[in-house]
């Protein structure tokens, strides 16, 4: 009887890392090759390899497609998937709530509202035209997070799953209508409603790759640094305080970091639902709930998932391109119901 309760959970060994890295590289390669114009594996590798070594593309169409269209897109998708999944994992631990995520809690829509307002008003930072949108998106993400948490807290002090999700859903609907209102009046200045509510990676370039990379390295580093504290929170906030965690400080830092990361993602690709909800769960099944392993594993699982979702979105009805959110929501909604059902039953 004892044996059946022992968790057979290997450590997150270098081998696991190697496996995940290979899986990720393979998926990236696949996503570069497949598309409206199919390109062979060897051409792809040659083109990427030449670019890395600094040899200019030989002017061939396939080389151009790879380097200027598909590669930046694939890199963006990889980084955004990793970032969103990391945020979901951190929030699920911090709030001890398996359904927490930027999209279920309304943080992403808050960020989208910020971005839309900044675009419509033409708000920019000197020397960095895209910065205004990004900073406003971050600020709105943080503002909505605080608003939702304090509303949920005033409803019930345990910040239970149900009240957070309920408020998040209502908040998302409310924000979406404000967004569509603004877009109706300022459609020349902003992107389409479907971009903000379902997300898209079409037309991204290397500048956005750089921004995402910087944001992910900084914010990801901070979150992984707080792995022990997140473990303590996931076990219980009171327990965390009793073992010496500075709960207020950690909570604030994690929430700000998550808002920044979500803000950057949303301003680049719109709101993509459910990545941060589903992928941490998959990672947890693989490596267990310990954030020292869970956070890195979530990075990989999120990236791979979003790459496949993006691939599906742009190929399944080719030449029509679906919004990426259509694919993630289809998968995510089903998953949401399963997790919700399970947590209800566990009570």
């Amino acid at each position: 009887m004892l044996d059946s309760r022992q968790l057979k959970r290997e450590r997150f060994t270098p081998l696991t890392y190697l496996f995940l890295t290979l899986a990720l590289l393979f998926t990236m390669l696949l996503c570069i090759c497949v598309g409206s114009v199919s390109i062979s594996f060897s051409d792809t590798i040659t083109a990427v390899w030449n670019a890395i070594r600094g040899i200019p593309a030989s002017g061939s169409t396939s080389g151009n497609i790879i380097l200027n269209v598909r590669l930046p897109r694939v890199l963006c998708v990889t980084l955004a998937g990793a970032a969103l999944s990391l945020c979901g994992a951190a929030m699920q631990g911090l709030l001890r709530n398996p359904l927490a995520d930027g999209s279920t809690m309304g943080v992403s829509s808050g960020a989208a509202l910020g971005a839309v307002i900044a675009m419509a008003a033409g708000f920019t930072l000197p020397g960095f035209s895209y910065g205004g949108i990004m900073v406003t998106a971050m600020a709105f993400a943080f503002g909505s997070l605080i608003l939702i948490l304090s509303l949920a807290y005033s409803l019930d002090h345990s910040l239970s799953t149900n009240s957070i999700i309920l408020i998040g859903v209502i908040f998302t609907m409310f924000i979406s209508s404000i967004i569509s209102l603004i877009i109706t009046f300022a459609s020349d200045h902003t992107r389409s409603l479907s971009f903000w509510t379902l997300g898209s990676f079409s037309g991204v370039n290397y500048d956005q790759v750089k921004l995402l990379l910087i944001a992910l390295v900084i914010c990801g580093g901070i979150l992984i640094r707080f792995a022990s504290e997140l473990n303590a929170f996931a076990i219980g906030e009171d327990n965390a305080r009793h073992i010496g965690v500075n709960v207020k400080r950690v909570k604030l830092i994690v929430l700000i970091t998550v808002s920044v990361l979500i803000g950057v993602c949303v301003s680049i690709s719109g709101t993509i639902s459910f990545v941060g909800l589903v992928m941490p769960h998959i990672a947890r099944m693989l490596v267990g709930p310990n954030h020292k392993r869970l956070l890195p594993a979530s990075l990989f699982s999120g990236a791979i998932f979003l790459l496949l979702a993006d691939l599906t979105a742009r190929t399944i009805l080719s030449p029509i391109e679906l919004s990426i959110g259509v694919v993630t929501s289809l998968v995510g909604a089903v998953f949401f119901v399963v997790i919700f059902y399970k947590t209800r039953k566990a009570r």
């Binding site: 968790l7 996931a234 076990i235 305080r241 010496g244």
Partner: protein, 251 residues
């Protein structure tokens, strides 16, 4: 070791703990007793710095309010009444978190002493076999033992307990209390606990505070506090007669 001076806690206009002072010395086990709503659990949370209060709580010469979280945790450990774990952490992972207060910065070396403390805590509480078990599969009694092991690994000098065995089977109750009295035998340690069961309080406590409506009605040596008159006043019933009647069922 631990001293409270004029502690007052208010929730809005409601005074939950009213100008209460106490003293906890080395080797003592101080029992907080009193009817529901007397403010026992609040007092304990106050000492653990989880509730805003007026007055002062001192550890030797330091004001607890000024201590950093980790320094506080090195001195005072808390075992709460109920702990639920939502994710499938292993027993060992939860116990190891007790060492959080001793971890240095990012680049500090491994906590070797911590490893032996965790081993010791697992062994004392009889959890070595279950170290890789998921918290989700444990019974209430085992779960409470895990958190006791965590607080042992934390190696504080004062252990604060909020009805540690309240909802447990008799066997586990006895187990938890004997583990704690073993722990108390080491010099430089003390225990402060809320216990509902007055027989348990008398069996294990050396000192007691009898509380009612946030005030201390009586405090001192346990036998001097738990007199028929005091208990009559606080509980509004003849506790001695009731306890003896209960006992007579077994004769």
């Amino acid at each position: 070791m631990l001293q409270g001076e004029h502690i007052t806690v208010r929730y809005g206009s409601c005074v939950v703990v009213d100008d209460l002072s106490f003293h906890l010395g080395e080797g003592e086990w101080l029992m907080l007793a009193g009817p529901n709503g007397a403010g026992k659990s609040t007092l304990i949370e106050t000492i653990a710095q989880g509730v805003p209060y007026t007055g002062a709580i001192r550890w030797k010469d330091e004001d607890l309010r000024t201590l950093k979280g980790t320094r506080l945790a090195q001195r005072i450990g808390v075992l709460s009444q109920k702990n639920n774990v939502g994710y499938a952490y292993t027993v060992e992972e939860v116990v190891s978190l007790g060492r959080y207060a001793y971890k240095g910065g990012l680049f500090s070396g491994r906590d070797e002493q911590g490893k032996t403390e965790v081993e010791k805590a697992l062994e004392i509480t009889g959890l070595t076999e279950l170290r890789h078990a998921s918290m989700l599969t444990l019974s209430g009694g085992e779960m409470q033992r895990v958190f006791l092991a965590q607080v042992f690994a934390q190696n504080p000098q004062v252990l604060i307990l909020d009805e540690p065995a309240n909802h447990l089977d008799l066997k586990y109750q006895q187990h938890i209390f004997s583990l704690i009295s073993e722990w108390l035998k080491e010099p430089g340690r003390a225990v402060l606990s809320v216990v509902h069961d007055l027989s348990l309080a008398r069996r294990y406590g050396t000192h007691a505070i009898l509380m009612d409506h946030g005030k201390s009605i009586s405090q001192g040596l346990i036998r001097e506090v738990m007199t028929p008159e005091n208990l009559q006043q606080v509980y509004g019933m003849n506790v001695y007669a009731w306890m003896q009647e209960m006992l007579s069922q077994w004769q």
